[in-house]
C-alpha cells in the first residue's frame, strides 16, 4: 500500500484521496468555495475564477482546475482573494440585468447569493447589461434572457456533454460573446428537446422554466369551468426546503390538501395511469416477444426522449412503445369521463418536467382542437402557486386523492426514478407473486444512479437483454450500439440524469436525485399493493371507462417530423 499523501489548506493538513481537484478537498475541511461554472457532473471549465486559491509563493490558482499534490500549501481566504472575488462579482453585475425583484429566479440566484456573501455594496462600473427584451420565448418549455447570462457555460456543457442535444453553444468572441443557437434561430426551431437541464444548472435567471401559472389561476377562478389536476410521482418528494420540507420527503397528502384549498374540484395521482401504462406496455412487450415484433421495445413515457428520437433518431420511432405517457393517459381518461358534461373540464398536470409542456401541446393529443391536458405546471411553479395562495404548507393536514382514480400501486410510484418503469414491468411479468418475488425484481440490476445499467433476464428459453438509461448522452451511446447490431430486448430511456426526480422542472440542488429516489422507494415500500395488476382501481378503470377502446384512449404513433 502506498503511503498517505497530504496537502495543507488554510493551515489544516488534508489527506489526498484521489480527489480530482483542490475544490473537493476544500469541501472536506468544511470550506464552501464560491463557484459559478463548476458542476461535479460536467467537465471542468475554469472560467468564472471565483474559486481561486493562493499558494505559499503568492501564486493564484483556480481550485476547480488544479489537481491536489502532496505537500501543496494553499489558502482559501486572504485579503487578496477577497478583493479579486469582489472585483469579479462587480464586473459580472455590471453586465447583468439587476431587476432582481421581478426575476423568476429571485432568491434562487447564485449571483445574488454570492453578491450577498461577499458583501457587494456597490458596483463601480456602469451597467452595460444587454437588453432583456430579446427574450427567446419561442419554446413552450423554457425561456432565455441574455441580459441575465454570465457566460459560465453550464448550459452549453449540459446540453452538449450530458444530453448530446447540441442546441446551444457560445457564439462570437470577447465582449460580443453570447449563448446562441445556430444562426441565432429561435429555440423552438433548434434541436432543443425541452428537457430543461440547462435551466436546472443555470446559476442565474438567464434560462428559466416557462411559467404557465396564470392560465391555471384563471381556470380556478372561472365558475363555468370544472378543474381537475394530476400529480406526477416525482413531484411528491421534491417540494423540499422552500416550503419547509425535507429533501426527498413524501408530502403528497399536503400537496393534495393545498390543491383543494386552491380550488381544484378533483385531485388525482398520475401513479394510477402509470399503473395502466405498466399493463399496456407489458402486454405490448410480450406481444412483440412472442410474435417476432420489433425489438428492442423502447419506453415512451419521457417526452424529452421522444423529441430526441424524432429529431435525431427517426429510425428508432418504430421501436418506441405505442403507449401514451402516464400524463397523457390520465388526461385522455379524464376528458373521456367528462365528455358531454355540463361544465367544461380544465385539466392540469403537475410534473417534474419542462418537456411535458411540449407534450401536452402536441397535435397527437388534441381532440376536436382541445388538448387532453390543458396546462402543465412544474414542481417549481406549484411551489410558487402555494406561496402565492398564502397557505402555510408545513401545517396542512394531509388528504387523499379522489375516486374513481384513487388507489395506486408501488410500481407506479417508482416511475419517477430511473429504472422504475423497468422494475414495474418486471413485477408485472414475474411469476413469483410472493414478497421474495418483489425482492428479486428489485435486485435485477435496474436500481441506482448510474447512467447506463444493463442486465439479462431469463424468459422461457431466452435471456432478455435489458438496458436502463438516463441522460440523453447515455441514450445516444446505447442507441449507437443497437444500430451497430447489438441485440437489446427492452430499453428504458429517461432524458434527465437519474430520471424524473432530477427533471428540469424540479427545484435544483446538488444530490437531489439521490434523496428523492430514496423517498420514492420508501413510498413504494409503504404501499400494500406493489404490483400494477393488483391495483383494484386499474381493473375498474378498464371495465368502466376504457372497455374495448384501449387503442384509441391509451396509445399513440409518433412519426418523424424533421426528415430532410
Amino acid at each position: 500500500m502506498s503511503e498517505k499523501q497530504y496537502m495543507t489548506i488554510d493551515g489544516i493538513p488534508v489527506e489526498i484521496n484521489g480527489e480530482k481537484n483542490i475544490l473537493e478537498l476544500c469541501q472536506k475541511i468544511g470550506v464552501k468555495m464560491p463557484t459559478f461554472c463548476y458542476h461535479s457532473d460536467l467537465s471542468i471549465y475554469g472560467a468564472c475564477r471565483m474559486c481561486m486559491v493562493e499558494n505559499k509563493w503568492g501564486g493564484i490558482e483556480a481550485a476547480c482546475s488544479t489537481p491536489p499534490r502532496a505537500g501543496m500549501e494553499i489558502k482559501t481566504n486572504t485579503e487578496r482573494l477577497r478583493r479579486y472575488r469582489k472585483n469579479i462579482l462587480e464586473l459580472l453585475l455590471a453586465n447583468h440585468c439587476r431587476d432582481c425583484t421581478v426575476c423568476e429566479n429571485n432568491q434562487k440566484c447564485k449571483l445574488q447569493e454570492l453578491a450577498m456573501r461577499f458583501n457587494i455594496e456597490g458596483v463601480r462600473f456602469p451597467n452595460r447589461a444587454k437588453s432583456t427584451k430579446n427574450d427567446d420565448t419561442s419554446s413552450v418549455c423554457i425561456v432565455r434572457d441574455a441580459g441575465k447570462c454570465i457566460l459560465c457555460g453550464d448550459c452549453v456543457r449540459v446540453c452538449n456533454e450530458i444530453q448530446n442535444v447540441g442546441a446551444i453553444d457560445f457564439a462570437h468572441r470577447g465582449s460580443k460573446m453570447v449563448i446562441s443557437t445556430a444562426f441565432g434561430k429561435p429555440l423552438a426551431e433548434s434541436p432543443c428537446v425541452g428537457c430543461g437541464q440547462c435551466a436546472a444548472v443555470c446559476p442565474t435567471g438567464a434560462i428559466v422554466v416557462k411559467n404557465n401559472i396564470d392560465c391555471v389561476w384563471e381556470a380556478l377562478d372561472n365558475p363555468s369551468v370544472r378543474t381537475s389536476v394530476q400529480i406526477a410521482p416525482a413531484v411528491r418528494v421534491a417540494i423540499g426546503k422552500e416550503l419547509k420540507c425535507q429533501d426527498g420527503e413524501n408530502v403528497m397528502g399536503k400537496i393534495v390538501a393545498a390543491l383543494r384549498r386552491m380550488g381544484f374540484d378533483e385531485v388525482y395521482d398520475t401513479t394510477l395511469s402509470a399503473d395502466i401504462t405498466v399493463m399496456e406496455e407489458t402486454a405490448e412487450f410480450i406481444e412483440r416477444l412472442e410474435n417476432g415484433g420489433k425489438l428492442p421495445l423502447v419506453t415512451s413515457c419521457c417526452p424529452g426522449w421522444i423529441q430526441y428520437a424524432e429529431k435525431k433518431h427517426p429510425e428508432f420511432l418504430e421501436n418506441i412503445s405505442t403507449c401514451r405517457s402516464p400524463m397523457q393517459m390520465m388526461g385522455s381518461l379524464i376528458k373521456e369521463q367528462n365528455k358531454g358534461a355540463e361544465k367544461k373540464m380544465f385539466h392540469v398536470a403537475i410534473m417534474p418536467c419542462t418537456a411535458k409542456k411540449f407534450e401536452a401541446s402536441r397535435p397527437e393529443f388534441m381532440k376536436d382542437g382541445q388538448p387532453d391536458v390543458d396546462a402543465v405546471i412544474t414542481t417549481q411553479e406549484l411551489i410558487l402557486m402555494i406561496k402565492e395562495s398564502g397557505l402555510v404548507f408545513d401545517e396542512l393536514e394531509p388528504e387523499a386523492v379522489d375516486m374513481p382514480f384513487g388507489a395506486i400501486s408501488g410500481a407506479g410510484v417508482i416511475f419517477g426514478v430511473t429504472g422504475g418503469v423497468t422494475e414495474a414491468v418486471l413485477r408485472r411479468v414475474s411469476e413469483n407473486k410472493s414478497r421474495a418475488g418483489l425482492l428479486e425484481a428489485a435486485n435485477a440490476g435496474q436500481r441506482g444512479m448510474e447512467g447506463i445499467k444493463e442486465f439479462y433476464l431469463p424468459y422461457g428459453e431466452r435471456q432478455l437483454h435489458i438496458a436502463v438509461v438516463s441522460g440523453l448522452g447515455n441514450a445516444e451511446r446505447v442507441l449507437l450500439r443497437a444500430s451497430a447490431g447489438e441485440h437489446f430486448d427492452f430499453i428504458e430511456i429517461m432524458a434527465c440524469p437519474g430520471g424524473c426526480v432530477n427533471g428540469g422542472g424540479q427545484p435544483y440542488f446538488s444530490n437531489a436525485k439521490e434523496a428523492r429516489s430514496k423517498g420514492l422507494y420508501e413510498v413504494d415500500r409503504m404501499q400494500s399493493i406493489r404490483r400494477s395488476q393488483e391495483n383494484p382501481i386499474v381493473n375498474s378503470v378498464y371495465k368502466k371507462i376504457i372497455k374495448d377502446r384501449a387503442h384509441e384512449l391509451l396509445h399513440v404513433h409518433y412519426t418523424a417530423k424533421h426528415e430532410d
Binding site: 447540441g166 442546441a167 457564439a171 446562441s180 445556430a182 444562426f183 434541436p191 430532410d564
Partner: protein
C-alpha cells in the same frame, strides 16, 4: 433552398480531410476560399457529415474574425490597421473608402456585392505602411486621395468587365 444547393464542392473538401472533426477549421477555410464566405446551407450538411452539432460549427465560425457568414463583394479591400499602419494614418484612408462606398463598420459589403471593406490587424508589410490589399494585391503607401482614385479605377474596371 436546400435542394438547390450543390454540395459537390463541400463533399470534395470533406473527403480531402477524411471527414475528420479535428479538421473543422481547415474545412471551413477551404469552403470559404471557394464561396468567399460560409453559406448557411453548409452548416447542417457539415454537422451531419462530421457528427458534430450545427451550433458548435456556428460557434467556431463566429469565433474567428476571418470567417464570414455573409457573402462578400467582388473586390475585397483589406485596410491594414496594425500598429505601423495605424500610426501612419490608416484610419483616414478607411474612413474615406467607407464614405466613397457608403459603408460602415456594421455594413461591410455594398448592396450590389461589388465591394467589401474590412480591416486587418497586420499584413506584415509594415515597411510599406499604410498599406491595403484588393483581392490580395498589395497597394503600398496609401493616402485617402490615392484610395479614392483606386476605388474609381476599380469601379470603371468593373463597369467595363
Amino acid at each position: 433552398m436546400k435542394a438547390s444547393f450543390d454540395f459537390s464542392i463541400v463533399d470534395e473538401i470533406l473527403s480531402s480531410y477524411k471527414c475528420s472533426q479535428q479538421a473543422i477549421i481547415a474545412i471551413l477555410q477551404d469552403i470559404q476560399e471557394h464561396y468567399r464566405y460560409l453559406p448557411e446551407e453548409v452548416f447542417p450538411y457539415l454537422a451531419k457529415k462530421l457528427g458534430m452539432s450545427e451550433v458548435s460549427i456556428y460557434s467556431i465560425a463566429t469565433f474567428y474574425e476571418n470567417f464570414s457568414l455573409e457573402p462578400k463583394g467582388k473586390y475585397v479591400i483589406k485596410i491594414c490597421d496594425g500598429t505601423a499602419c495605424h500610426v501612419r494614418r490608416s484610419i483616414p484612408i478607411l474612413e474615406r473608402i467607407r464614405s466613397d462606398l457608403g459603408l460602415s463598420e456594421s455594413k461591410k459589403t455594398t448592396d450590389d456585392r461589388i465591394f467589401t471593406v474590412e480591416t486587418v490587424s497586420c499584413l506584415g508589410a509594415c515597411g510599406l505602411a499604410p498599406v491595403l490589399t484588393v483581392n490580395d494585391v498589395v497597394y503600398p503607401e496609401m493616402t485617402p486621395d490615392k484610395a479614392s482614385a483606386l476605388i474609381a479605377q476599380l469601379k470603371e474596371e468593373n463597369a467595363n468587365a
